[in-house]
């Protein structure tokens, strides 16, 4: 086959290319809005959390973690609800308040304080036996890779307010 013939587009080739092009246009025109529609949640900007009152007095906390339930207005697309969140709160040695999220950083199960006989005074996750120290630091050799998240803490008129959950990197 000569150079000349190679560069020529035959009638059949031309029709094939055109067919592919028109088909591609139809597929793209159909799918583009649908795909944008489907991926919308991933492209939403992150919302900042407001501080929510727990209704508990700051002075009532000791250096032993206590479970605090507080209610957050949660907007899940068209569904608005009040969601009860949980924090493990205690007073650190310097007098400041530490509020830990009970969500295990391994796979998101709920940890409990001091509720496993084999691991006293630790946060224990029943799913895969994850352990955390009192300050939320994960214990190496157990599944979690990061310490428990902490809530933003604010004190107004002696009442504890909790804000966004902030993930922490391994200390």
């Amino acid at each position: 086959m000569s150079e000349d013939k190679k560069s020529q587009v035959s009638r059949r080739q031309f029709l094939n290319y055109t067919l592919t092009g028109v088909g591609g246009f139809m597929a793209a025109g159909l799918l583009a809005p649908m795909i944008r529609f489907a991926v919308d949640p991933a492209l939403q900007p992150e919302t900042s959390g407001d501080f929510v009152s727990t209704g508990k007095e700051v002075d009532s906390f000791t250096n032993e973690p206590t479970r605090v339930d507080f209610t957050v207005e949660q907007q899940d697309a068209w569904y608005n609800s009040k969601v009860t969140k949980t924090a493990w709160v205690y007073k650190q040695e310097d007098g400041s308040i530490l509020a830990l999220s009970p969500k295990c950083t391994h796979l998101g199960c709920i940890v409990g304080w001091n509720d496993n006989e084999d691991h006293p005074n630790m946060f224990y996750c029943p799913c895969h036996d994850g352990l955390y120290e009192k300050n939320g630091k994960n214990i190496p050799g157990t599944p979690p890779t990061a310490p428990l998240s902490v809530y933003d803490v604010q004190v107004k008129d002696g009442i504890l307010y909790l804000g966004k959950e902030i993930p922490r990197k391994e200390a």
Partner: protein
Amino acid sequence: MLQKIYDWIDERIDITPIWRDIADHEVPEHVNPAHHFSAFVYCFGGLTFFVTVIQILSGMFLTMYYVPDIENAWDSVFYLQQEVAHGQIVRGMHHWGASVVIVMLFLHTLRVFFQGAYKKPRELNWIVGVLIFFVMLALGLTGYLLPWDNKAYFATTVTADIAASIPFIGEDLKTLLTGDPNIIGAQTLTRFFAIHVFFLPAALFVLLAAHFIMIRRQGISGPL
């Protein structure tokens, strides 16, 4: 009468060759349990298909009562199981069928594997079969959330976190799956419903058609 109707249709659209091909093809001796009892292992594929048919039918009927909404999903499942006549059987078929189909698929896969039936020229059919296996597992995973009970909710939380642990794309993948970066909620349920009821079955039909067409073209693998 029926014969006349059939002939009338057949004269116009020639449907006979289509089913004659399926009806008349020879079934070899080695897959026939009447000749060799051990040939029962060849039943697993057919039984998988049978359970799949049960799943499709029972699933279609379940959607007559089921509502994919977090306020009503659990109540609708509770209602259809407790209040609707034969609700326990229809939901039971779908629930237990999901387990049985996995068992049957597993056995069918092992039969094909240990007989080396996936070897040339049947490589493509093996790949399609494994893809069907994946689609079935995904159907099980998405269907698990739909009753919106505690088991469903917490298992899906873990699933979402596993998806999020994938490097680079994990967080976005999780959001795409659950509809919200932080909440397993209303959008998760509708997404899983859409995937379970429309997207995955569509993929399943295509793969099943390819699977069966290839079996008809290639014939069943010979005896060992």
